[in-house]
């Protein structure tokens, strides 16, 4: 093989930056001059953020009441006792009285909270049929196998909505009454039961089957409600836009919780006189006690809370930011010390050389 400077050997590799691994590169050195300002700035920013979060969380009012009805905890005990034998007595009611010395600023949200309820249990959380819930008529009558044993009734009728989640729908209901003056009449506070679920859920993910002759009931013909339900799904609410699969209580329930202790939004208070919050006075929450929790050692709570830009009352996030911010600054100082020490040493070395 003759070879000269111009002729290229047949096997000579390409002399490109890529093949020679000489791509133009930036090799950042994590020098202290970059890291230190970074840490101090980040620390300051985080502390600021943490303070903001903390104070906004601090400003949020929360009012909660455990109405599980363990013996001696209130007037729900009676209902709770009745609950012992697992067949919830119909229309057991109890009430929670509370008074607000000052305005509970709005918008006020009403939650219910369950504890020790494993909505995230695998067997439980797969027991649903999203196809059915998305309103496909074919799926309506043929629930998925995951729903078993809440797939079909003993009579053979398919259950709509099928599955364990739907069957265990939270069915306590609350009404809020306000007594402006002591001894005065209780006025019902309007609870807005819409807008409590994700918009995409109740407008996209959950759809009712197409109406038959303009009637939702006919659409659900040939299905049976879940065993625990006293009413069929199309009677969940009298509001035709809030009944069936797109009933927002139902949608909220079907969005299973991540943890065994969870809150779910029940209603928003934003109408009439109560749009700015709950004025001071005495309140009565009338609870229809249906849902048994004492069997598995759970609790039911009712929670009033208002909301800030960053959500509900949540001191943890703010505190966490404060801690991280201060840690940043601490680390910055440590680095500074190390840096100064070794910088000096290096300088000395250089001098020595």
């Amino acid at each position: 093989m003759t070879w000269s400077a111009t002729a290229r050997g047949a096997h000579q590799p390409d002399n490109t930056a890529f093949t020679q691994q000489r791509l133009p590169a930036w090799q950042p050195l994590l020098s202290a001059s970059i890291a230190l300002p970074l840490f101090f700035c980040a620390g300051l920013a985080f502390i600021g953020l943490g303070l903001g979060l903390f104070y906004s969380s601090y400003g949020i009012k929360e009012l909660e009441y455990d109405y599980t009805g363990n013996p001696g905890t209130g007037n729900c005990s009676a209902c709770a006792l009745a609950d012992q034998d697992r067949a919830p007595p119909l229309r057991c009611s109890c009430a929670w009285y509370f008074s607000l010395p000052e305005l509970f600023p709005g918008p006020v949200y009403l939650y219910y909270e369950l504890t020790n309820f494993y909505q995230n249990n695998r067997r439980y959380s797969v027991s649903r049929d999203d196809t059915q819930l998305s309103g496909l008529p074919s799926a309506l009558l043929h629930p998925a196998n995951e729903c078993a044993p809440y797939q079909r009734r003993a009579s053979g009728l398919p259950i709509a909505p099928c599955g364990a989640i739907a069957n265990s729908l939270f069915n306590d209901s609350f009404s809020l009454w306000h007594q402006r003056q002591p001894g005065g009449p209780y006025v019902e506070v309007p609870l807005d039961r819409t807008g409590i679920a994700w918009w995409t859920d109740c407008h996209v993910k959950f759809r009712n089957p197409p109406l038959v002759n303009g009637s939702l009931a006919l659409a659900f013909q040939g299905t049976a409600p879940p065993p625990n339900w006293p009413r069929p799904v199309y009677e969940l609410s009298p509001d035709p836009n809030n009944t069936g699969f797109i009933n927002q209580d139902f949608v909220v329930w079907m969005r299973t919780a991540a943890l065994p202790t969870f809150r779910k939004l029940y209603a928003r208070i934003r109408q009439g006189n109560y749009s700015t919050g709950l004025p001071r006075g005495t309140y009565l929450v009338n609870i229809t006690y249906n849902y048994p929790v004492r069997a598995f050692g759970g609790h039911k709570l009712i929670v009033f809370s208002n909301i800030s830009w960053m959500g509900g009352k949540n001191p943890f996030l703010g505190i966490a930011y404060l801690v991280v911010g201060s840690l940043c600054i601490l680390m910055g100082f440590v680095m500074l010390v190390v840096y100064i020490r070794y910088q000096d040493q290096n300088d000395e070395d250089e001098d020595a050389e």
Partner: protein, 1429 residues
């Protein structure tokens, strides 16, 4: 080659002659069937080669089968099958399915591409044209059409298409020259010869067409150099052996046309049978990773079991109290627990890094490509880039601790160049730097100059042309006369064929200076001296051997006076000088300076011999040469008498040119804590010389030799046998400052390492040694006393040092008592050797090379790399963890067995320090990060289990899991594996110390693995628990307390944390890395929005349940704040750690840098005995083989009439009938091809020690298998027929055959009828030389190259042959007294001969009073230390 030889030796010769092939008769050949059960096929395969694995139909099933043979794939297949059971299916089906399919597809594609390549090359080969005899004429056909029994016509430079029986050729005697480079890697020509009968009768195409001979031979086998069969033709049987066979893959050279008959075709051919499977080498990291994966798997099982236990308690509660879910648990608690165990196993199987395997493959592949692409490892003169043949060893390149290097052709170019000379005390060096181009060639006046001599010295040339200085004249005359070079004329040019390249260099130099060696006959040498033709009558040739270390020629000049010309090692010559004057001192000075430049030197001397003296000497010589006993000794004495009172002419210096950059490379490697061992078949002096030349050895090193090594090991033995004592003292007795090097010969190795040989031979060895030493070096005994003193000091030091390091390990291990002596011996040796800065093993056989590598591997547990270029290195290359083949002129076999192919030794530096280090660093970083990533993202599943009642609910969306390892996190990590650079290539080369990290496994080991795991665990804890606590309190539309939002937040935090980690990990930011990070995030965005889109949800709501989850969740600032918190919590501490570590490390290197300089300064000559540089001067230019003096003087190989051999080769002797002598002279060669032991033992036991008659008796043993030729007649008449190319081949081969022939020779009857035959010097196996020219075929098995690498050592067929040698004659029944000493391989040969001699010089013993040499030595030692050549 040694491996082959070894293997073949072991093979039982049980093959029956069941292979029948009839010429030109396909019908007959096709009748043979091979049946297996009920399935029959042709016994003889066709010549179609199909190396491809798959065809169109078998690809899918076969490939899938192969892939599922991998345990990891099988595991995932199993998991996927398990997932089919709804009871335990915890992950969506696609989560594991999608990655596995991807993986399979990628691998299958790769296999397919490979296979298509194979198909293509097969087709190329199968479609090669060749001429096949069809009917009455030769037609062009494809190789594929060739069948067994066909007659093929081949032309010059054709490749042999199948294993052929050579029927006839156009050359005389139907010789056919072949080049077997593709088969055994030897580039020299070999010849094959047709059987006599076919040569005589198949003279035309017509006769070929009617040829119906039948060949009966063995079944196809892989033994390349073995063939036995017979040709059955016209009722007569003619024996065939491998000398008649042209193997597939050879190339026909120098032969116009030859005809052959196919015996084995296609896959039956020897070469195809030899295409062994490539042994899979695995790297350390590979093994570690496999262990880790198993570890991960085991721990997953454990975790699953623990979690199942948790479930056990929970499920009772679920069943009893949680009414809303109890109906979903229908089975008993135990059954549910059993199911959940499998559920967890499936859920956690994502933690087994499946994608890692495929990515590692990509990374290896990519790094191999970079090696292939590296322009700086491209060697333009050969158009040879570096090539990674194995793509799975790259990371190991970064961990090499031992480099075993061949010498010849690897360190050196194996080119000898005449560099300097000293004539009459005047040194003539080259005028200018040799590289600078000259305007005109100063040798143009000389028509015989070959114009290639680089050495130019105008003054010398002038002196030569003036022809006035007698010394100058005699100097060049000597060089033109005193040698054993053969000459041949080719294309009107003289071509010299020498036994050693040194000699060739000298004679060529003389030729260029006007003293042209033109021709040689049995008893004359013709020289053109400055145009004047002079014929010298050769009276005697006293050849070189390793003991004499000189060679002399006694000639009668045309004027009639008698001259003795001697050249030899300086020590030997100076001892025999007539007087010592200024000239001599000057020459000695010159020699010292030559030695300092590590040139190979030779002293030249001559004297005029009086007629009377000659006559008297001649008679004694005559007497001695017919002695029956002790002839060698007697002859030696006679020579000794003649070689006295010499007059010094001068000295020559020849450079054994190192390859470019060898010194620098070795220096770099040493700085990188890589130990370089040179394993060479060459003799000790040369090896040591090269050791100095490439700065492996230096003057301030303590060089351990045979005796010291033995002493130290014995000392070690003693102390080891007694109880280990003084543990506390060891530390400070350890002397790191002593630089020690070891020079060890193959024989000693054999002696030391019991396990390498089968029978104890220590005793015999010692006897040998003493016997030889006593007569050969009269003053050796006295020296020993001196030496002892020195040794005792040294071994005390080293013994302690050795003990200090060895004993703790040995005694520390519980097995120390149970260790066998062999093991302890081996361990002791390896420990000692590994203490040395440099180790040179000389005269080692290929097998020993491999054994040494294996020993080091065994006892040091380090990564070894072997580099070599010749076939003799194959064993070593295959044994070492990494084999590097140098693609030189030596053919391809080393390359074909290697993992990496380089063109030059110096590229090793870049391969190891740059590519190896990078690869290692990349792979380690990749692995570390991958494990971190897996842990960080997947551990949350475990934490989540605690919050969902251990119900094995996956936390992530199925698609996130499926695509996480495929798309979201792959690219940056792939970038790390492919492109990451911690330091640039230049810095890597400048700071070889950086390499040490790899040797210590610093970048990836169990500790790093645990760190990565812990880091990942922390990240996963943060990612899980921060959202958990945050979500606790919040609710409502902005909450993420629902499962999907929570999953999204954790997944998002995990992904971003991991990405941030990779951003911090990448140290080498290029556009590609930015792209990688960007793309992986983009993939997340795209894939997530796709999998959460309405469109897919409508298709299958169940498969895509996370409708708009990300969009809803991530559009809320508070949730983004949580993600930010997670990421910063994960990133900032590691960032801080990195910064702090970096600050701390800055001080580190400074301390380290000081160490080496300290070391250099600390080398004080002190009490340690110094070797004088003079010792190195003994590297005379002879190779360790003898010359051809015997052949020449006996005339076996030469025509009597002085003819410029060119015409001998001439055109095809149109006569189909050559002189019978010529035929027969070639015959034995063919026969001796087979291993020596196949030869029938000599029939007649006799007593003559050396076969005095070179011809007849020698022909006998081999010829006895065929018709015995008319004895004695042929060797006189036989012209030198073999092409001169074969000179080289047999020259390297003859040593190897020494054993056998000598034995046979010894048993032949009668004294020598040939007066010229001289017995060999004792100890030097010379006798067989006589037989060599006629049986000049080189044994390709063991002659790696024309190199010394194999020559001498292979004199002993096996490592214990040296031991057997003296014995075997006894067995044969006729042990004359002399036998015990004479045929002995020169055991103590150079090894011990060199030592004492140069010690003597170095120590300036009174016996050599050379006052000035002291000063010289010191000067030179200082100089060499300072300035490399």
């Amino acid at each position: 080659m040694g491996s082959l030889a070894y293997r073949e030796d072991l093979e039982e010769e049980n093959s029956a002659f069941t292979w029948e092939v009839k010429a030109n008769s396909r019908a007959y050949n096709n009748q043979f069937k091979k049946s297996f059960l009920c399935w029959q096929r042709q016994k003889h395969k066709s010549n179609v080669i199909n190396t491809a694995k798959y065809n169109v139909f078998s690809f899918l099933p076969l490939n899938l089968y192969e892939q599922f043979c991998r345990i990891s794939n099988l595991y995932f297949l199993l998991i996927i099958i398990l997932q089919g059971f709804p009871e335990i299916s915890t992950l969506p089906w696609f989560t594991l399915f999608a990655p596995l399919v991807c993986l399979l597809v990628i691998r299958a594609t790769r296999d397919l591409v490979d296979d298509i390549g194979r198909h293509r090359s097969d087709r190329l080969i199968n479609n090669r044209p060749c001429q096949i005899l069809v009917g009455k004429s030769f037609l062009w056909k494809k190789w594929a059409n060739l069948c067994v029994g066909d007659v093929v016509c081949l032309h010059r430079d054709n490749i042999v298409p199948a294993d052929l029986l050579l029927l006839a050729s156009t050359e005389p005697s139907s010789l056919c020259y072949v080049e077997t480079a593709d088969i055994d890697g030897e580039t020299n020509l070999k010849f094959r010869q047709a059987p006599l009968v076919t040569h005589l009768q198949l003279t035309s195409v017509r006769s070929m067409a009617s040829f119906r001979g039948k060949v009966v031979c063995e079944e196809p086998s892989s033994r390349l150099h073995h063939f036995v069969g017979c040709l059955d033709w016209d009722g007569r049987k003619h024996p065939l052996d491998s000398g008649n066979i042209l193997l597939r893959g050879c190339r026909v050279r120098n032969t116009d046309t030859c005809y052959g008959m196919v015996i084995y075709a296609g896959f039956d051919t020897k070469i195809m049978k030899n295409c062994g499977r490539i042994r899979l080498k695995r790297t350390k990291i590979d093994r570690l990773v496999n262990r880790l994966v198993v570890l991960i798997f085991v721990s997953l099982v454990l975790v699953s079991m623990a979690l199942s236990l948790g479930f056990w308690f929970k499920v009772t509660e679920f069943k009893a109290r949680h009414y809303y879910v109890s109906s979903r648990y229908l089975y008993s608690v135990a059954a549910e627990t059993f199911f959940i165990f499998w559920g967890f196993l499936i859920l956690l199987s994502v933690m087994v890094p499946m994608a890692m395997f495929i990515m590692v493959e990509f990374i290896y592949l990519g790094n191999s490509m970079f090696i292939n692409w590296d322009v700086e490892m491209y060697y333009a003169p050969q158009d040879q880039p570096a090539r990674a043949r194995s793509t799975s060893l790259n990371d190991q390149l970064g961990q090499v601790q031992y480099v075993f290097s061949d010498k010849t052709g690897t360190l050196t170019q194996n080119i000898m160049t005449f560099k300097k000379c000293c004539i009459g005390g005047v040194t003539y060096g080259p005028d200018e730097e040799e590289d600078t181009p000259h305007k005109e060639n100063p040798y143009l006046w000389n028509e015989f100059a070959d114009g290639k001599l680089l050495y130019q010295n105008a003054a010398l040339l002038g002196a030569v042309r003036d022809n006035e200085d007698k010394t100058v004249r005699e100097f060049w005359r000597l060089l033109a006369i005193c040698h054993t070079v053969m000459v041949q004329e080719e294309d009107r040019q003289l071509v010299y064929q020498a036994a050693s390249p040194d000699e060739e260099a000298l004679v060529t130099a003389a030729r260029n200076f006007g003293y042209v060696f033109v021709a040689r006959t049995q008893d004359s040498i013709t020289v053109l001296e400055l145009g004047e033709k002079r014929v010298y009558k050769v009276l005697a040739m006293m050849d070189f051997n390793s003991i004499r270390k000189r060679m002399s020629v006694l000639v009668r000049s045309p004027e009639g006076s008698i001259y003795l010309y001697t050249k030899g090692a300086d020590v030997v010559i100076f001892e025999r000088l007539h007087k010592r004057g200024v000239k001599e001192w000057a020459t000695e000075e010159a020699l010292a300076s030559f030695a300092e430049q590590t040139l190979r030197t030779l002293c030249l001397a001559y004297k005029q011999v009086g007629e009377d003296a000659y006559e008297e000497w001649r008679q004694r010589h005559q007497e001695a040469s017919v002695l029956l006993q002790n002839r060698a000794h007697a002859l030696h004495q006679v020579y000794e008498d003649m070689e006295q009172d010499l007059q010094l002419l001068g000295a020559t210096a020849i450079e054994d040119r190192l390859q470019d950059g060898v010194c620098d490379t070795i220096k770099c490697l040493k700085q990188g804590n890589i130990k370089v061992w040179v394993l060479t078949g060459d003799k000790q002096e040369t090896a040591v010389n090269i050791g100095f030349a490439c700065q492996l050895l230096s003057e301030n090193m303590l060089i351990l030799e045979e005796k010291e090594i033995l002493r130290i090991l014995e000392a070690y033995w003693e102390t080891d046998n007694s109880a280990p004592r003084g543990k506390g003292r060891r530390k400070h007795l350890f002397l790191p400052r002593v630089k020690v090097a070891m020079v060890i010969s193959g024989e000693l190795l054999d002696h030391l390492l019991l396990s390498l040989r089968k029978e104890p031979r220590a005793l015999v060895h010692n006897v040998n040694e003493d016997g030889d030493a006593s007569w050969q070096e009269p003053d050796a005994q006295t020296e020993d006393v001196q030496q002892d003193r020195r040794l005792s000091l040294m071994w005390r030091i080293l013994g302690v040092q050795l003990r200090a390091t060895v004993t703790p390990q040995v005694t520390g291990s519980s097995s120390s008592t149970s260790e066998s002596p062999e093991v302890r011996r081996e361990r002791a040796f390896v420990e000692l050797a590994s203490q040395c800065q440099a180790v040179i093993c000389c005269r080692v056989t290929p097998k020993q090379k491999a054994s040494i590598v294996a020993l080091v591997k065994k006892y040091q547990r380090v990564v070894t790399l072997a580099i070599g270029d010749g076939a003799n290195d194959i064993n070593m290359i295959k044994t070492a963890d990494i084999g590097v083949g140098l693609a030189g002129q030596e053919g391809l076999q080393a390359v074909q067995n290697s993992d990496y192919v380089l063109a030059q030794f110096c590229f090793l530096k870049r391969l190891l320090l740059v590519h190896g280090r990078w690869s290692y660093m990349r792979v380690c970083k990749f692995l570390r990060y991958f494990i971190y990533k897996t842990a960080a993202s997947m551990m949350v599943q475990i934490w989540f289990s605690f919050y969902n009642g251990f119900s094995a609910q996956p936390l992530y969306e199925g698609w996130f899991l499926a695509l996480f390892n495929l798309l979201y996190s792959t690219l940056p990590i792939l970038y790390i594996g492919l492109f990451e650079q911690d330091v640039s290539a230049e810095q890597s080369l400048e700071l070889p110390e950086l390499y040490i990290a790899g040797q210590k496994d610093e970048l990836f080991n169990y500790w790093v693995f645990l760190q990565a795991l812990a880091h990942g665990t922390v990240t996963s804890l943060v990612n899980f628990f921060v959202p958990l606590w945050v979500s606790h309190d919040s609710a409502g539309p902005v909450s993420f307390s629902d499962y999907q939002s929570f999953a999204v937040v954790v997944a998002m935090s995990g992904l971003l944390s991991i990405t941030m980690e990779v951003v911090l990990a990448i140290r080498y930011w290029t556009a590609l890395s930015v792209l990688a990070v960007f793309l992986s995030l983009l993939f997340y965005v795209l894939a997530t929005s796709l999998s959460q889109s309405l469109w897919l949800f409508q298709i299958s709501p169940k498969t895509f349940p996370f409708l708009y989850a990300d969009r809803n969740v991530l559009s809320r600032p508070s949730i983004l704040l949580v993600v930010l918190l997670n990421v910063s919590l994960n990133t900032l501490p590691t960032l801080a750690l990195r910064v702090i570590c970096q600050a701390l490390k800055k001080a580190g290197p400074k301390e380290r840098e000081e160490a080496p300089s300290e070391e250099v300064a600390a080398v004080e000559p002190g009490p340690y005995p110094q070797r004088g540089s003079r010792g190195r001067r003994s590297s005379y230019a002879f190779s360790h083989r003898e010359g051809y003096a015997d052949l020449i003087t006996q005339g076996t190989s030469l025509r009597k009439a002085p003819a410029l051999g060119g015409d001998v080769l001439g055109a095809r002797a149109g006569t189909p009938e050559p002189e019978p002598g010529a035929r027969e002279s070639l015959r034995p060669r063919a026969n001796t091809w087979a291993p020596g032991r196949r030869r029938p033992p000599p029939q007649d036991p006799a007593s003559a020690e050396d076969a005095p008659s070179p011809g007849a008796p020698e022909a006998r043993p081999s010829g006895s298998r065929r018709e015995p030729p008319p004895a004695g007649q042929e060797d006189r008449e036989a012209p030198w027929k073999a092409p001169f190319a074969s000179w080289r081949s047999w020259s390297s081969g003859w040593r190897q055959r020494l054993q056998g022939p000598r034995r046979r020779a010894a048993s032949l009857p009668g004294p020598s009828p040939a007066p010229a035959a001289r017995p060999p010097p004792p100890g030097g196996p010379r006798a067989p030389a006589e037989s060599v020219p006629r049986r000049g075929r080189r044994c390709p098995r063991c002659s790696g190259r024309g190199s010394p690498g194999t020559g001498h050592p292979r004199a002993r067929p096996s490592p214990n042959a040296g031991l057997c040698a003296p014995r075997s004659p006894i067995k044969r029944g006729a042990p004359p007294l002399g036998l015990l000493s004479a045929p002995r391989v020169p055991e103590p040969g150079p090894a011990s001969a060199w030592g004492p001699k140069h010690r003597r010089l170095g120590q300036g013993l009174p016996s050599t009073p050379r006052p000035r040499s002291w000063g010289l030595r010191e000067l030179s030692s200082r100089d060499t230390a300072r300035s490399p050549r």
